[in-house]
């Protein structure tokens, strides 16, 4: 048995390590992605004042703080039995749109594009955002930087801070919009629509016009036939802020649709001894190990999961792009992991279009910001984070102090899928002991597509963290070390 280690995995938010196990013939037996650290938020949140939760929980993840802030605030709405005001709901949704704009932009251009623009097996020293800028030119670079900043500014306008906003309170929001701020948000959102369309065109030119990349997207190494999950509105269109949770099956048909309060009837978490992250699965289907297909309860969330779990997009231009994507890749559902990148850009367009709709809504500058709260109790709140469905669930005592917390985060829901995608990519790409840096990066591309945030994780074993490939014999003696990078 030989073990190939990729440590640290790069171009993602957070840390992790991949171990690939090769058999006697040098072919892949299995591969694991380890999340090596527990931070214990669920536990130390107990005993806190309930209104502190929207402040504490965003620190679980600095790349999806807005989603945590909103899920937490919605959970408090439910726990205090209060509906947020109409204006507050719109503002919160607008804030989530701003966050999707900046986060999807960050992932596509900074983390993912190097693999396509510079090339999956380009020299590692060039395979990064600077290499991308060299290829596409500084003018495109400025547009990317500008629109990422727009997304942040939209969030910041009433959130206080772009990364860790503080405006959410049960029953509403602590700050509204004035006309000047509204106008500025409208301008930024309109510009973001054009930027999203540019990005889809860019994807078309760079990725879809290159037959090698299309073959890669469609190759067996990157396919996974799982269930899909996401929030949908009354028309079964993708929604980032509210609605029902819909699950579709391997044929794209609705498997189940449920309201957020019922999530424990449908979603369960499995524990493995070798990692601190749990694995989420559909309760009725059951945990069947790291397998796909209808008998395995594993499902996908995030851009591709959401689009697969819905029947379309609620804004006109994104709806067209949705149709084009499914037409090009052979209908719904799409099983190719690398199609996450395309789905992410369709969502970028939706987030920008929806931000324009909300910014031009006559009610958005309303002053009905908060409704009075009721008695404290138990509540569940769900939103879409950029990387998938996010569930918060708190139980409060009569003083409004937190007694129990359960958090089911997007990357946990995708974790089993990510492990399988890495294993399958490794199996498809590494043959007869033929391992090189480019191939290992293509294994990394299998997790990168999901945009995971291992915010709760860091490196694991004592010792240095170089990128080395350690090759062991069957007695686990080190035979050879290949240096990477």
């Amino acid at each position: 048995m030989k073990i190939v280690t990729i440590d640290p995995i790069t171009r993602l938010e957070g840390h992790g390590k991949i171990e690939i196990f090769l058999n006697e013939d040098g072919n892949v037996e299995n591969a694991y992605l380890q999340i090596p650290e527990l931070r214990g938020f669920e536990r130390f949140c107990e005993g806190r004042k309930a209104e502190d939760m929207p402040i504490i929980t965003p620190r679980i993840c600095g790349v999806c703080p807005v989603a945590h802030h909103l899920a937490s605030t919605k959970t408090l709405d439910a726990a205090y039995g209060v509906e947020p005001t109409e204006t507050a709901s719109k503002l919160r949704e607008l804030m989530n749109c701003g966050y999707f704009i900046y986060d999807h932009t960050l992932h596509f251009y900074f983390l993912a594009a190097p693999d396509f623009v510079v090339g999956p097996d380009a020299p590692p020293s060039e395979r990064n955002i600077f290499g991308v800028l060299k290829k596409v030119g500084l003018d495109v670079g400025r547009e990317v930087i500008k629109h990422r900043a727009y997304g942040q500014r939209i969030t910041e306008t009433f959130g206080g801070k772009a990364t860790h906003p503080t405006c959410g309170v049960p029953g509403g929001i602590s700050k509204g919009l004035n006309e000047e701020e509204r106008q500025s948000i409208e301008d930024m959102a309109r510009s973001s629509v054009e930027f999203a369309k540019f990005s889809l065109g860019f994807f078309n030119d760079v990725v879809l016009s290159n037959q090698d990349y299309v073959d890669l997207i469609l190759s067996d190494s990157y396919q996974l036939k799982t269930y899909n999950m996401g929030l949908v509105d009354d028309n079964n269109h993708v929604n980032f802020y509210g609605g029902d949770i819909r699950v579709t099956d391997q044929q794209g048909k609705e498997y189940v649709k449920f309201v957020e309060q019922d999530y424990l009837d449908h979603v369960c978490e499995h524990v493995e001894p070798w990692t601190y992250s749990k694995f989420t699965y559909l309760k009725d289907v059951g945990w069947d190990g790291f397998t796909d297909g209808p008998r395995s309860g594993v499902f996908r969330v995030g851009p591709l999961g959401r689009l697969n779990a819905a029947d379309g997009m609620a804004t006109p231009q994104a709806a067209e792009e949705y149709k084009r994507m499914y037409k090009t890749l052979g209908g719904r559902p799409i099983q190719s992991t690398l199609a996450f990148h395309w789905a992410r850009l369709v969502e970028l367009l939706y987030a920008a279009e929806r931000a324009v709709e909300l910014a031009t809504d006559p009610g958005i500058t309303g002053t009905d910001l908060r409704n009075p709260v009721g008695e404290p109790g138990e509540g569940v709140g769900v939103v879409e984070a950029a990387r998938g469905t996010l569930i918060h669930h708190y139980k409060l005592d009569q003083e409004g102090i937190i007694k129990k917390v359960n958090l089911v985060v997007a990357t946990t829901m995708n974790y089993a899928d990510i492990c399988m995608s890495i294993r399958d990519a490794a199996k498809g790409l590494i043959k007869n002991n033929n391992v090189n840096e480019g191939l290992l990066n293509m294994v990394e591309m299998a997790f990168r597509a999901y945009d995971p945030c291992f915010g709760c994780s860091t490196h694991t074993l004592p010792g240095k963290a170089p990128l080395k490939v350690n090759i062991y014999d069957d007695k686990k003696r080190l035979v050879e070390t290949v240096q990477r990078g």
């Binding site: 650290e37 214990g40 130390f44 504490i56 620190r59 790349v63 930087i145 700050k175």
Partner: protein, 288 residues
């Protein structure tokens, strides 16, 4: 051309996201210098030698991070703690209020919605979350959760041009436009119970606002968006313990208080970001 390292340890990558918020200023810094190691952005896998400036986000939660921070310190001329986790422990430091083993059992074996029977075993966590200064000498901190992009730009441009960056000498209250009258309510209020007066000092109205015990320079965005200061920038310059400074700042309010002040309940608010470096956590550590 300086060689820069950017790494995230036990944190949430939020500081790196904030650093990217430097936008065009960041491009100038990166074009004029050389980013040599940054797992979030680059595929370089080994920590290089001869680092001029190491920017470290996140604290220390396992033995591997401890080794990494020591290796970085050996190889770097200047080590900067970026953000609350690296500088003071941050919100993850609140986990130090709980015992490690108890935490594991509760989360993996006694948790609604999670299958019972398995607890991850072979990975090495430390019992507590630490700021990096518990292991190595830190040259500068950039406070905040996340840090202000202007602070990041100022600290980096000062250092890269050979100047010593200066810390802010104010408190958040000095950035806050809310009016102070020197009169206090007689009860502590909670933000969801009432809508605070938008123009008046939140602490004077009885809301638990950390402004007076928190280093200024952020522009007080939280009180201006209608909520209290969280205290994310840690204590003011030359103050050792943020929570004690806050108690001191609250004397006016506390002496008038009709209700009891439950220290247990408020400890996680007095030390939201600084529990891991606090005097009381140091005492608790000695006891263990």
């Amino acid at each position: 051309m300086a060689r820069i390292l950017l790494i995230g340890l036990a944190g949430d990558s939020g500081c790196q996201v904030a650093a990217l918020g430097l936008h065009e200023a960041l491009v100038d810094i990166l074009v004029a210098n050389e980013l040599i190691y940054a797992p979030t952005l680059l595929d370089t896998k080994e920590i290089p030698d001869d680092i001029d400036v190491a920017i470290v986000e996140g604290g220390i939660r396992n033995t591997h991070e401890e080794e990494i921070i020591k290796e970085i310190r050996e190889k770097a001329k200047i080590v900067i703690a970026l953000g609350a986790c690296a500088a003071f422990g941050g919100i993850p430091g609140l986990a130090n209020l709980r015992h490690g083993k108890e935490l594991m059992n509760e989360i993996y074996n006694n948790h609604r919605g999670t299958d019972r029977g398995t607890i991850p075993t072979h990975l090495e966590s430390l019992p507590e979350q630490h700021p990096i200064k518990h292991f190595v000498k830190v040259d500068y901190i950039i406070p905040g959760c996340p840090p202000e992009v202007t602070d990041i730009a100022y600290t980096l441009t000062s250092l890269l041009s050979g100047n010593e960056p200066e810390y802010n000498r104010t408190q958040v209250c000095e950035d806050c436009p809310r009016e102070r009258l020197g009169e206090y309510e007689t009860s502590l209020k909670r933000i969801h119970e009432e809508i605070p007066d938008p123009d008046r000092c939140l602490l004077e109205q009885g809301y638990f606002c950390m402004g007076p015990a928190t280093m200024g320079g952020c522009g007080a965005p939280c009180p201006q968006s209608g909520n209290t200061c969280e205290g994310c920038r840690g204590s003011c310059l030359d103050v050792d313990d943020q929570g004690m400074a806050m108690i001191d700042a609250m004397t006016g309010l506390l002496t008038q208080l009709k209700d009891e002040f439950d220290l247990n309940l408020y400890s996680a608010m007095l030390y939201r970001f600084t529990y891991a470096e606090s005097v009381i956590s140091e005492l608790a550590r000695r006891k263990k």
